[in-house]
Amino acid sequence: MGDSLPMLKGTLDLLVLKALSVEPSHGYGLACWLEARSGGELGVEDSALYQALRRMEQRGLVEAEWGVTENNRRARYYTLTSSGRAHLTAEAATWHRYAASVADILSAEGKG
């Protein structure tokens, strides 16, 4: 995946939280979701994804429970906790502000 975009720090967490805010999901489901949404642009190794999930579980942002997939396979399902939801809202706002200001600067320079 050398041609894909590098991940900015903290971005993966944010995206995973976003994905889980739609519905609880297992790790593979999240990977598929990310690939589908980014059109394969975000180069994330699956292990990094699990790393992020476990980290957030430790911080109490997500909870996990074993469940059964539609194909009758057991998988570990992650759910957003209330503090995870609050974190998502806050981080998303920060991200938007940040992205907007970066974009502003870049476009201003381009006109320069």
């Binding site: 593979y28 699956d46 292990s47 699990y50 790393q51 579980e57 430790q58 997939t69 194909n71």
Partner: protein
Amino acid sequence: MGPHRRGMKPGSANPDSGVDDELDAEIEAHLEMRAEAFVAQGMEPEAARSEALRRFGGDKGARRALVTTARRTHRRHTLRRLWDQTAADARFTWRRTRKSPGFAAVAVVIFAASVGLTTTMFNLVDNVLLRPLAFPEPDRLVALWSVGEGGAFPWVSMSNWMDWRAESPSLISTALYSTARVTVATEADAFHAPASRVAGPFFQTLGSSFVAGRGFTEEEAQASAPLVVLSEGFWTRVLGGGPRLDGAEVTVDGRRMGVVGVIPDEQALPQGADVWVPMPHRPGAGAVRNNINFQAVARLQPEASLEQARTELDVVAERIRVSDPAGIYSWGVGVRPLRDVLVGDARSYLVMLMVAVAFLLVVACANLAGLSLAHARQRTQESAVHLALGASRGRLIRRVVTEHVLLGLIGGGIGVALAWSATGYVMRRAGEVIPRAAEVDFDGRVAVFGILAAVLAGVLAGTAPAIRASRDQLSTLLSGARGGIGGGRGLPGAAMVATEVGLALTLLVAGGLLLRSFQAVISRDLGFDARGVMTADVSLVGSSFDSDSRWVDFWDAVTDRLRQLPGVEAVAVANSIPTTDGGRGFIDLEGQEGADIGAGYWVVSDGYFDVLDIPVLAGRVFGDNDQAGTERVAVVNQAMAERYWPNESAIGKRVRARSMESHLSPAGIAPWLTVVGVVGDALQYGHEDEVGADMFVLHRQVPYFTRSMFLTVESRLGSVVPAQTIRQAVHDVDPGVAIAMSSLDSRLSSLTGERRLVMSGLGLFAGAALLLVCLGIYGLMSFAAEARTREMAVRVALGAERGELTRLMLTSALQVVGVGAFVGLFGAWAFSRLLDGFLVDVGAADPVSYGAAVLLLSVVAVAAALGPSLRAARQDPLEALRDSA
């Protein structure tokens, strides 16, 4: 794919391995799903799998990081869940307690009492046995002993000590000290003080820390410098001294001494001493080597072991044996930790009492477990419902245990507080008897011990009820069957009551053995009559009569004066009296000079045998015709007469007090004494003494031994002559003498103080255990009565007599007691080994003690079971059947 069923299994042996498996399972599921997707796109399964692995990526480090994070998460969650559940259990306990406060109250009281007693006992053990001595590097401090054929003694002779000291490189330094009594005179008063004369670098060896000033040095001790070291308590309390010495002086034994230093009370050696004075040491040979009148303390080199010092000193002792054979006893050397010497016998009985109190704690736990089981009907319903709703068994067990632990903590907290507040009392009671106990203080580690004991007790008490609760099934509950209750079998709590009975029996038997030994001891014939005898320890040191030509004059003046007082029957003086340490030494019998025989040596005045009512068996006792210049006479006791002159009369035989009176002639040979009478044997050191050979000499004929004497005054009235009367008579002759009084009876009972203390301690524990057994049996039978309501009703309906029913119930109670008692007999037999040294005239298998304990337990059991049994038999069968239907 097996690992799926594993995972969130709480409480598995190694939580981390579960976490690893879970992580593996999660990743494996992920890989399979991804591979399936590739296969669906047309890939070969193997290629799909390796592509899935590639996409997963991550090196070893990543995987490790993942595992670490997962483990941390898991632990956090486990703790959190535990906390939540415990909080829920606590709330549950609170609700239950409010519903039925009776059980909780009983539990708290029992926990408080048992934990309180256990904590108090531990406090003593901790202070006396466990805590290091209050000196720097205390484990390097040792006591040197004399070891001979007759055993090992914590006493050494000055000459031996000097030789040992010169030739043992393992010892950094060593010093000699004696236990003594000095007369301290202030402007207002003269009084005795417990003291020690010390030789060598005493304070340096101990590493004493001085509250003020310094210790005297070995050179000062050698020079008998007029210097004194005082204990802090004596300096501040008795002399009213402050933080600075300011060149203070005090009169000790008639000599003005400069107070050179003050040491903390807990560093007093010998224990309880208040005054330390210098003592020169000088070598001596021959018989002097046998005068083991001193104690020796030494500090080992940092790298030297006890064994090393012992080996070294053995060589020295052997050399002395060869080079100085005149010493009759060739003492070897013992090296022991100083603490062992200070603690002495206390170790064995403190350990015994600690075991006893642990038994009591277990009885209390079994008691609560039993009560809780019998009381568990309500819990049964709740737990059955919980089980039916899917609660795990482990969870239920934990809840019940938590309930008991919480009650244990509340009760234990109260118990620890009680133990804390009782510290002062215990210190006073035990401090008179147990060495080091006067320093007892209650600190954090004792409190921690108490709390731990409470938690342990809670767990112990809660386990059986918890397991039972987890076994109760909804079906049994709904069917209402309490099943299989007959003849005590299957009664919940029967095993608990049996345990209690067994342990209580052990304590009761031990208590019985001690009580019987005590009775045996105090009912012994002492050979003298202590009733109505007042004793006064009087020292002429430093008084106006303090010269050897005037000492006897003083005693005669005082005894004359006392004899004329109304109510006084007889008066005498003696250099030692029963309960005090008399002299012992070697004697020569005419015709067997130089033989290795000894006798007690007592200096007494004419009336001594009258005062103590010691019978004269043959010849006469001292009289007016025996004067300083007349024939030197002695009176011997029956034991001495029979041992040394068997089958012949002792009267007229001649004897020399070789080691006591050898200084009287320049040649070092003691003068002959003629035996003029034989008196009855007296147990001079009180009830626990053995009769030995004793000889008595007249004070007028050995005036040099009369500087300090005991006045003994026998009253004609029921009570002793008042101390004030005696003090007045003494001070009329010379107001400057020190005097300390006590009745002979109280002196005698203080000799059995240790025995009394141990007996009352064990008695307390046994009594408490008995009370608990009583409560336990009552609870058990109440439960049984209730549970057997239906059975009883049927029996009554079928024509059974009520008396028969009562008997049936009582029999089932006695069966439980019988099982417990049977086991308890073995326990008692094992425990009685700990009583070694306390049993007098009573065997460890004394049938009376065992029988009495079993009888007492049975009576208590029947009494406790009677009420519930009668209730069970008395109920109306129709009503009972209707209720239980």
